[in-house]
Subunit: 276 residues, 4 copies
């Protein structure tokens, strides 16, 4: 695969020097190890070595992980470890149709679009136009724009999409979107929410339970990087201890408490909006 003008590439110099660069004619890119004329990258294959003033760099095709490193940080603290787990758990794959709220900077959106492939679709809602503009730009950079329908709006009020394979909720009060998620989901489809605090876990989990979702789970992942050195290997000393919790459920014919005529005891606590 050759590098073309307009491509996003990853320049890897060493562990601390990784740069996401857009290949534009006539431009150059400088680091403390030397300067690269971007024209010279065009036509090279990915994986090529580039001579710098000091040492060598390598041009990689950026993966989702690199985009994360390179600035496409989500507005909230959802990390690759969480996204990989959510995608596996959700059951989605090539061809899946997904409903997402909110879009944010588009990082989770991009990951979902990547895995549904050209035959899939992601409907991504956000209430902020500025966020969606940013996400749109990011998705274009990644060549994933065609697979995503960006929609301005509030999922909590219900959305027209239905029969979707999975719903991803990356919003402060997912418990207020559970009923809407259920209406949009196909049977046997799954809903996943990502939230930073225990209170949000409780409210989301209980809302799923009361809405008739089954197979509920709430999970936390801790990633420890290992520093490898011959005969001196040990975990990294300092790092991320917490990003958030993943709450999961699946839709069946099971009725909600309301449909069953039972009282929803949580009504009062569900009123209080965003917590983040």
């Amino acid at each position: 695969m050759k590098i073309e003008e307009g491509d996003e590439v990853l320049l890897y110099v060493d562990e601390r020097r990784k740069y996401l660069i857009k290949v534009e004619k006539g431009k150059s890119f400088s680091t403390d190890k030397g300067t690269i004329k971007l024209d010279e990258l065009i036509g090279l294959r990915y994986g090529s070595a580039i001579k710098l003033n000091q040492g060598e760099g390598y041009i990689l095709k950026p993966s989702l992980i690199d985009l994360y490193r390179g600035g496409l940080r989500p507005s909230q603290v959802i990390y690759p470890k969480d996204i990989g787990y959510m995608i596996l758990y959700s059951g989605i794959g090539p061809g899946s149709v997904i409903l997402e709220a909110g879009t944010g900077s588009g990082y989770l959106t991009a990951a979902l679009a990547h895995f549904v492939g050209e035959t899939g679709k992601v409907y991504s809602y956000d209430m902020r136009e500025d966020m969606q503009s940013k996400a749109e730009k990011n998705l274009k950079r990644l060549g994933l724009r065609e697979r995503v329908e960006l929609k301005l709006g509030d999922i909590r009020e219900g959305v027209p999409e239905n029969n979707v394979d999975a719903v991803f909720l990356d919003m402060p009060d997912p418990w207020n979107a559970i009923d809407a998620a259920k209406r949009s989901l196909k049977y046997s489809g799954s809903v996943l929410a990502f939230v930073p605090t225990i209170r949000q876990v409780e409210l989301t989990y209980i809302a799923m339970d009361q809405s008739g979702f089954i197979d509920l789970r709430a999970d936390h992942l801790l990633l420890t990087e290992i520093r490898v050195k011959q005969n001196a290997t040990r975990p990294k000393n300092v790092g991320v201890l917490h990003t958030g919790y993943i709450v999961f459920g699946r839709k069946t014919e099971k009725k909600s408490l309301r449909e069953s005529g039972e009282v929803e005891v949580q009504e009062s606590i569900k009123g209080n909006g965003s917590m983040r």
Copy 2:
């Protein structure tokens, strides 16, 4: 989506009663909560409620996670948390071509086949014919058999596949397969190994480094399940503390120590074969 004869379905009764069932005419399935005639499932949509002697069950379309639960346990201790992370990190997606060693019971193979879609391919090597027969059966159950080429053989001796997008090593001595992996990989592609002990992490990481792979990482994931209960939420008391480590690297034009004419200091320790 309707249930058809021959489908694998998940019968969910409650958190402790989840059963993976193959729908065969004239058969029935019994639990302590009641018996289901499988004929009656045919034609139902997924997500349907089924009346049992005691309470209700629900018929779900099995996802990769359910297959894990339902008996398709890998020969080694690679868990969904690890697989999700490896797949995200590998950069693969619909259409990718993957080299895997070893096949084992086919669980990781199935996950890879799921995410590469109909347009992708997984070449999966194992030295044991009995394992591959088992894996073949599992892949057929999942409708993923067409996407996988099962091959008897030893990746450490080199394999004919080349230009693959990623190499997954789920074997006791991945350090002995790193050179072969490099030859088969396309530039900018990635290699990932899963190993249970720190010594294996060291040997694999160092072999990657000496073979010229860059952007090396070794990671550990800890999954904590949260027990949610209104005002009494807490982590689960007992669970899995360790499955294994994920070692990652990417291929570029960077030369190996041998190609650079440098001595490989690890030669002696690389000789000792399987450790598991």
Copy 3:
């Protein structure tokens, strides 16, 4: 140090065979590796090897850790990792005077009594007479009975002890005992609570804050046992993920919200009693 009649000793055969035994004349103790006549232990020094039918055993002087293993399990899930941390954080040492609630089976009580020494004192409250009888028996076994004053009563209603160095709360609703703890503490002394759920952490922490305690902390400890084997070392696969949280604060002249004339917003939620 010689073993005497009436001593509690630890018979260590191997990792899975550790027995806490009271040395009584004329009795014997049997394991699947052989039988020991307890008379023969009298007069031996601690650390002695004992011949069994199969192999050898060793007689150790039990430490607090062994007592934990040997049956003196607390009524709640407070573990050695938590106790060591609490004792270090509390600032107590030889000669300290401590107020504890509740006594339970006396395990934390015993640890506190051990570290305050002969010149210190532990006042330990519990509302259940049967628990205190059990704790009394345990403390006698350990030779720590003299250092502990066991008292039947409810700390939440206030207790006569004052000027104590630290207060340890091992009870379901420590937030209801914070004001009493403050009255009993000397200035610069510390209060520590151990609770299993996040909601209890919140209520306890907020009660400490409103009562004027400073330097507040809430901590969680995860202990991972490492399985050591030459070149195959790894963390243990399955183990304890969660016991509880430690909440800490220190008393100064800082006024409580009530003393400052401010409204205590937590009043309503503080009413609901035990949660465990």
Copy 4:
């Protein structure tokens, strides 16, 4: 308890402003919240509130934890969570006699001296005179100097102390001190080492095993601080993931491999000295 001239006190302003101060006549101490004349502290009781230009501060009697915060950082990464656990596991208490190597800045030494009380003793070895001078100064500050005998020397060559209750090894190659530790320990006494890497764990554990120690353990502690906020409680996002491992064993009459006439397979690897 009144504050006297020469005391070390802790000035607590808020979570980020904690200062360890020596009370000297005629001096003052300044923060961005205001200045304190130290003369005014003399005669106050601990826990007193001090008016600052902005808000209030509180004068606390420093505990071991505060000393850790206040500059008495160990040369190596041994943290309070590790020290509390080691002390509980070691079985020591008031009156114990302890052998320690190495002294370092004296932080672990101070904790040990605190818990053995006036009737106990800590023999602490270090090969560096400058470290011991620093430790001596720290111990004097804490009023613990009398309980500690600081000795220049190399424990690996054997030391004259014997019949000690516990040996604490905070040195790069504890495996080279295991035989010396065994000679100095009383029967049923325990040895504890703190090491940062897995290789050190292996070498230390194996040396203990070969030397005849029993009841071996290797443990790792992860401390997660909880950020408490009404209805928004969550773990702290970033923190310490790793300090080191604690390796533990107990002395009995069990013979070492050498005493049993067996070959010590580890001899070769035990030669390579410090790894840190």
